[in-house]
């Protein structure tokens, strides 16, 4: 980490106020632990808890983990519950876009920063100064995904399969735009409801359109099903998937051979990294939770760590933390975070690929400031 950056980070954090010893931070963790995002919600929770453990000795963290399930009303209930005793310093907020959209006005009213890894573009497009996204948004990762398809793989006839959820539709919109800019044609596109289990019909439709690459924007379970059935049907196309396909829990559903030729975008891939700090973090994570970490856990860790750094630097309340996050720069484990003015803190992306021999992906490409937003 260059010394100038370190100085910049410290300077930014000091904006929040002078350093104090024995500061208490209240950071409730509101994440989906039940429902179709339970896997990702657990990663969020684990990343936050690990960051609490690693907090500076001068900072005492009070936290409560509350399940937000998958409905906006549950998220609002959780937010109200988290505020019932004392004003939170910041809130670890769910990654589900519709829940985040419901929480934005509540955070504005309560003057509490929301620290999230939600990928839904709209949450930082509503001019709300209290939201901070530590996972690269669709503008970043979809650009990286499309650029890898066109620039690295040299493919221009794209089959696009996406989920008919907020995540899927948002990614679909960005991918179509970026492919158009890059001169690639989307020759077939198909929306899949989360309840769809049999991927054979959509794969048949894809094959009939004669694409030269299959691009996915699916949740974890659907990604695994589609990749498995594509391998079984001998589709013979390179697959470049969304971030769900980088998650160890998703990959565990597949045999290594089924993963040959499959790539995925992500903000990071902690288990693929060689950097000593990340390797230590991965070891700590495995020891603490007995599961493999993913990029959501790492991003949430970095986000909470940046908040705690601000608290350690003297940020006492939500407003002070917000100012520190909005103006600061933080060298996290996954990347360097800084706000683009709208609350988007992460601007880098990676493409990881599987070689078919094991379930650990290799970083095939890194995109720093992929969409030029950072």
């Amino acid at each position: 980490m260059p010394s100038s950056r370190i100085l910049a980070t410290i300077a930014a954090l000091l904006v929040a106020g002078s350093a104090h010893a024995d500061t208490t931070a209240t950071i409730p963790v509101l994440v989906p632990l039940t429902g179709f995002l339970a896997l990702e919600g657990a990663s969020q929770r684990n990343g936050a808890l690990l960051a609490f453990r690693a907090a500076a000795a001068s900072v005492t963290v009070r936290h409560e983990v509350i399940d937000t399930a998958t409905s906006p009303e549950a998220a609002l209930n959780a937010f109200a519950r988290a505020r019932r005793q004392e004003a939170p310093t910041a809130v670890v907020a769910p990654m589900l876009g519709t829940q985040m959209l419901a929480l934005l006005p509540a955070a504005l009213e309560a003057r509490v920063p929301l620290i999230t890894v939600s990928g839904t573009a709209e949450i930082t497009e509503r001019g709300n100064p209290w939201v901070f996204r530590f996972f690269p948004g669709d503008a970043v990762v979809k650009t990286a995904q499309a650029r890898y398809v066109v620039e690295d793989l040299g493919r221009r006839r794209v089959a696009l399969v996406y989920q008919t959820t907020a995540y899927g539709q948002s990614g679909h919109r960005h991918l179509v735009d970026v492919f158009a800019r890059l001169g690639a044609a989307v020759v077939v596109e198909e929306g899949l409801a989360p309840a769809v289990k049999d991927m054979a019909p959509v794969l048949t439709k894809v094959r009939a359109a004669r694409p030269d690459v299959l691009v996915l924007q699916l949740h974890a379970e659907a990604s695994a099903r589609l990749v498995r059935q594509a391998a079984a049907l001998g589709l013979g196309l390179p697959i470049v998937a969304g971030s769900a396909m980088h998650q160890p829990a998703t990959v565990a559903l597949l045999e290594p051979a089924e993963l040959a030729g499959v790539c995925a975008e992500s903000g990071a891939s902690p288990i693929s990294e060689d950097a000593p700090a990340v390797r230590r973090w991965v070891a700590d994570y495995r020891a603490a939770f007995q599961v493999e970490p993913d990029a959501f856990a790492l991003a949430q860790y970095d986000g909470v760590a940046m908040v705690l750094a601000a608290v350690a630097a003297g940020a006492r309340d939500g407003e002070a933390v917000r100012r520190a996050l909005a103006a600061g720069r933080y060298e996290g484990l996954a990347m360097t975070y800084r706000s683009d003015g709208a609350g988007n803190m992460a601007h880098d992306a990676v493409i990881v690929c599987y070689d078919g021999r094991d379930r650990t992906p290799r970083v095939a490409r890194r995109y720093v400031n992929a969409a030029g937003t950072g």
Binding site: L33, T34, V65, I66, D67, T70, S71, P72, E73, L76, N77, A80, R81, R83, R84, G97, T98, L101, A102, L104, P105, T120, E122, R126, T164, T165, A166, Y167, G168, Q169, S170, G191, A193
Partner: protein, 598 residues
């Protein structure tokens, strides 16, 4: 006091006031956002549940579209607020109207179905709306939905936080009282029959189709209102509001709380919203424990919490006394004008089921004050003829004329209103309803003002009291006063048959069709029944009696007709028919009859 105030005031009871007062005393001092939010949400789900009580609780139709109408209300309110800056005084009525209109459109094809077919069709409505919400991105925002919907405002008055909660609960009180009033009215008794035994409903002359339609629309409108309140409460709407999860919560609200009851819906809403909140400390095991709580409730209190409490109350506390008989009901055979016009005229009636001819060219007339016996071997078409006359089966050919009016193919409720009542070969009584109410329900629509007047007078206890008084008079006349307050299902079969006769008489009919009224009766009971029927005949009531007991029937009837394989083979006095060779042949076989004659 004005009429509407009276209408509501008559529904107020001390426990209701106490419960409402206790709830208000608990809620009003609340300031913190967490309890206010939870109680607002409880109110929204209570509204949704109360709405569902109309279609599921009252009408007994297992609709799976209630969650979808909730979502429709939410989307309508959101779109109106975002696109036209409408506030609550317009968004709430718009949500109710659109949801009700959609229900009215869906009702035509869907309400014809029954049981699981109805459930699947309504599930289809929900699925279509969900797909539209996800796919029509320009209008609905797609899977992200719509955000930025403001808190509830009514005529520039912002109702946020506690004010919003109070407003939601005022609506719960109004809609809840509506359900309460309907349930305890004569219409409520009719709904009980429609839900429990459609044949009993037909016998009581209840307009089942109209009641189901009204209940379906009321449910949808209230669900739309709840959806609109929800969207103003949370500020966003997304396809999750149309998801099956909402429907499941709605079912849990009414099943756990208690079916068909306002208090059940409110209690169920508390359970659905608050219990998961209380179980937060269990984290991952929360849903498991919540599921176990629900399962235990359903296993040990299958009628719901309120239903179980009512059952215990009935067991431990004395029931209401038999009301004073009201002799205001005119004697059966209400058109006592001297006329030679037959009460019933069948002209060349034919009916087939596939290749089986059930009736063929049947022509007969029944005069006022006549007891007309109908005999024939098993499968000869007797019950089909009764069904055709009462509208339960439409004839393929011919005409059914009642008191000079052609009622061919008209529904049972219409024919019933023209003075035709019936009993069944297999008794159809509401087993849990008192004998008195089984009979009183048949007065629906026959009180002054007709069906419309009765519907408009929902909850006016005076009407229910009058119907019960009239029912008590009929029961007394049939020596049934001693069992009037017992549930219909607890009576011996012979008594149940007599209750069916009482219910038919409560329709104030001109013609009664009795299907096997003497079945299972002892000889003294048969004699008693015959005596009663003769008394009714003297008051101008016409009767068609189908019975296999020829001794009973031939001794009672003025004229008798015999059916064989759907054809009328003999008609005349009991003596003529008894000696008719075709009748003998039909009953004991052609060869045997010939040998007996020789």
């Amino acid at each position: 006091m004005t009429r509407p105030l009276l209408w509501f005031a008559e529904g107020i009871r001390l426990p209701l006031l106490f419960a409402a007062g206790a709830l208000a005393a608990f809620m009003l001092p609340l300031e913190a956002s967490y309890p206010v939010r939870l109680l607002t949400q409880v109110g929204v789900y209570a509204l949704l549940g109360i709405g569902y009580q109309f279609v599921f609780g009252l009408a007994g139709a297992f609709s799976l579209a209630q969650g979808a109408f909730f979502g429709v209300g939410a989307y309508v309110a959101a779109l109106a607020a975002l696109q036209w800056d409408w506030t609550g005084e317009l968004t709430l009525p718009a949500a109710v109207l659109v949801a009700t209109a959609m229900a009215a459109l869906a009702a035509a094809p869907v309400l014809r179905l029954r049981t699981h077919y109805f459930a699947l069709a309504t599930l289809g409505i929900a699925q279509v709306l969900f797909v539209l919400a996800v796919g029509w991105i320009d209008l609905t925002g797609g899977a992200n939905g719509l955000a930025g919907i403001g808190e509830l405002m009514l005529w520039d008055q912002r109702l946020d936080g506690r004010d919003g909660m109070v407003f939601v609960w005022i609506l719960v009180a109004v809609v809840g009282l509506l359900l309460y009033q309907v349930r305890r009215s004569l219409v409520g008794l009719a709904f009980d029959l429609v839900r429990t035994d459609p044949f009993a409903a037909i016998a009581a002359g209840a307009p089942a189709a109209r009641l189901r339609f009204a209940a379906f629309l009321a449910s949808a409108g209230i669900a739309g209102l709840a959806g609109a309140l929800q969207v103003h409460s949370i500020g966003v709407v997304s396809p999750e509001v149309l998801d099956f999860d909402i429907m499941i919560r709605c079912l849990v609200v009414v099943v756990v709380g208690g079916v068909a009851r306002t208090s059940g819906a409110i209690l169920g809403a508390f359970v659905v919203v608050l219990v998961p909140e209380w179980l937060h400390a269990l984290e991952g095991y929360r849903l498991l424990v919540f599921g176990a709580v629900l399962l235990a409730t359903i296993l040990f209190a299958p009628e719901g919490i309120i239903g179980t409490a009512e059952r215990l109350r009935r067991r431990w506390l004395p029931g209401p006394a038999l009301p004073r008989p009201l002799a205001t009901l005119r004697a059966p055979g209400r058109s006592l004008l001297a006329t030679t016009r037959p009460v019933l005229s069948l002209e060349r009636v034919a009916k087939g089921f596939g290749g089986v001819v059930a009736l063929e060219g049947v022509t007969l007339k029944v005069a006022r004050g006549e007891i007309f016996g109908l005999i024939g071997p098993n499968g000869s078409g007797k019950t089909t003829l009764v069904d055709v006359v009462t509208g339960m089966t439409a004839p393929d050919e011919g005409r059914v004329v009642v008191s000079g009016e052609d009622l061919t193919g008209r529904p049972p409720s219409v024919i019933s209103r023209h003075g035709v009542a019936r009993t069944f070969q297999t008794v159809h009584l509401h087993p849990d309803m008192t004998v008195l109410d089984n009979v009183a329900a048949a007065r629906l629509g026959d009180l002054p003002g007709g069906p419309l007047g009765t519907l408009l007078a929902i909850g006016t206890e005076r009407r229910l009291r009058r119907a019960r008084g009239e029912a008590a008079a009929i029961l007394e006349a049939l020596d049934l006063a001693a069992v009037a307050m017992r549930p219909g299902g607890t009576l011996a079969p012979a008594l149940q048959r007599r209750v069916e006769l009482a219910r038919a008489l409560a329709r104030n009919p001109e013609l009664v069709l009795l299907d096997e009224p003497a079945a299972g009766l002892s000889e003294p009971e048969q004699a008693h029944l015959a005596e009663r029927l003769r008394a009714l005949k003297t008051r101008g009531l016409a009767m068609i009696i189908v019975d296999h007991n020829l001794g009973f029937l031939l001794g009672l009837a003025d004229r008798v007709a015999c059916l064989d394989q759907g054809r009328l083979i003999a008609i005349g006095t009991p003596e003529q028919v008894r000696n008719d060779p075709d009748v003998v042949s039909a009953y004991i076989g052609g060869g045997i009859a010939a040998r007996a004659a020789s």
